[in-house]
């Protein structure tokens, strides 16, 4: 059976979303038909609103609806500490901890030779522009502990050292045994790391 045109269009739009197959798209579309007009309008407005008002912060490249994002504009935060992450969602992850009081820099991806993504495709130049005025004393590299994340961190660390020498401290987030995991299943690389960077308790 073919759907009526407006319904078919909605199904087709849902199908374009990540992880949504043809069946899920139909289910969502039928659900939209059942909800109240107000709910449907709220959804439509939220979609348009987010596209209209969300921009990237010109300093850290996190998503924001202000000129400057809340974190960059906050005078209470430590402007000498900069946490470099791959994606805006990583900022949210670090923020959730309530532990970190410094600023962020979103690279917009990681170096991935297999996908042809090099340092030039990331916001590394912008990172260096931020470091140039000498306010930042420490850069924390918080990319994923995957081959791409490690490569990105090593690349940035090398470049910062060769440009700024000892003026900027470069650190990498710790990796080792995840909370609630099993020694038996830890891979060699993780265990080596965990042993090398063990600490006294």
């Amino acid at each position: 059976m073919r759907f009526a045109k407006p319904l078919a269009k909605l199904v087709a739009e849902f199908e374009k979303l990540p992880g949504i197959g043809p069946k899920s798209a139909q289910r969502l579309a039928f659900h939209i038909l059942r909800i109240s007009d107000d709910q449907a309008r709220a959804l439509a407005e939220a979609v348009l609103d987010v596209k209209e008002r969300i921009k990237t912060c010109p300093v850290c490249f996190n998503f924001t609806d202000q000129e400057l994002c809340e974190i960059c504009a906050d005078p209470e935060r430590d402007h000498s500490l900069l946490c470099v992450v791959a994606e805006p969602r990583d900022v949210a992850a670090v923020e959730k901890t309530n532990e970190y009081r410094g600023l962020y820099h979103v690279l917009g991806g990681v170096i991935s030779p297999m996908d042809g993504i090099g340092p030039d495709a990331l916001r590394i130049q912008e990172l260096f522009a931020r470091l140039a005025d000498g306010t930042v004393r420490e850069v924390i590299l918080a990319t994923n502990p995957t081959i791409e994340g490690d490569t990105t961190a090593m690349y940035i660390a090398r470049e910062i050292r060769s440009t700024f020498g000892d003026n900027v401290r470069v650190t990498r987030i710790a990796h080792g045994m995840p909370v609630g995991s099993d020694m038996d299943y830890a891979d060699q690389a993780t265990l080596i790391h965990a042993l090398q960077w063990r600490r006294e308790i």
Binding site: G19, I111, P113, M114, D115, G116, G118, T146, I147, D150, T151, M154, Y155, R158, P178, V179, G180, S181, D182, Y185, A186, D187, Q188, A189, T190, I192, H193
Partner: protein
């Protein structure tokens, strides 16, 4: 064949949904295959480590409807030294891409598996990464029957003693430049390069670390192999631009390093 076990090296991975990845694995018995590693992107997942590129594990697969599922993996070697250094990591990734591009799924070639493993061990043990990669390029071409010939001119069988000769990817080897018309895809190389190429073709993997090649020979060999591989694959490898000397031979006019 419901469940099977094999030694495998992850050569590529792409994210699938929220928590999963599709891995491309080069296995000893089955050749290249794709399998889903379910939940491997969750922190603490038992499959997280074994799903990283160039990790070598003993793996158990369950045959699925479309894709097979990686159900268990026991890491044999994760090559921590390769990961510690941007340069060796870039060479290792290039080697993985070579294997990926040169092979079809489910075409067993245990010789190629052993070659890949020894290439990774060479990078891990800090053998000169550039020579290791050249060695690997020559050996993978040999294993697949695309071996470039450096013995003598492929048209007349002579080899000039000095000066320059041509290397032609379409001919599959060298041309002396004097017996017949030079193929139009030929690049000019010094005669001296053929002896370096022959040494690297014949050497045992554990002797590569003893070889000393001058800069010029390294550059020319990189260029020759890049052209030869490009001709065979009909495309460029993405990761080649990330190698320290990756730009050599990218243009027809070789630039200096």
């Amino acid at each position: 064949m419901k469940v099977y076990v094999d030694s495998g090296i992850v050569i590529r991975r792409i994210d699938l949904g929220e928590k999963d990845r599709i891995l491309t694995i080069y296995t000893k018995e089955y050749g290249k295959l794709s399998a889903v590693a379910k939940g491997c992107r969750r922190p603490g997942s038992k499959l997280a480590g074994p799903s990283e590129p160039f990790v070598h594990s003993k793996m158990m697969f369950a045959a699925g409807r479309d894709l097979d599922i990686l159900t268990q993996a026991d890491v044999r070697e994760s090559f921590p030294n390769i990961r510690r250094n941007v340069t060796t990591a870039s060479y290792a990734i290039y080697i993985l891409e070579l294997v990926d591009k040169f092979t079809e799924e489910r075409q067993p070639n245990s010789e190629l598996f052993d070659l890949l493993l020894s290439g990774l061990y060479m990078l891990e043990s800090e053998t000169d990464p550039e020579l290791t990669t050249r060695y690997f390029e020559l050996q993978i071409l040999k294993a697949l029957g695309y071996e470039p010939h450096f013995e003598a001119c492929l048209r007349c069988g002579n080899l000039p003693r000095s000066g320059r000769i041509a290397f032609s990817p379409s001919l599959g080897g060298i041309h002396c430049c004097s017996c017949s018309a030079v193929p139009n895809d030929a690049i000019s190389i010094p005669v001296a390069l053929v002896s370096y190429a022959r040494v690297l073709k014949a050497v045992e993997p554990n002797r590569v670390r003893d070889l000393r090649f001058p800069t010029g020979a390294r550059r020319d060999l990189a260029r020759v192999l890049k052209w030869h591989i490009r001709y065979r694959l009909d495309s460029d490898l993405k990761s080649v631009n990330f190698l320290p000397q990756g730009h050599i031979g990218a243009a027809t006019q070789p630039r200096s390093n």
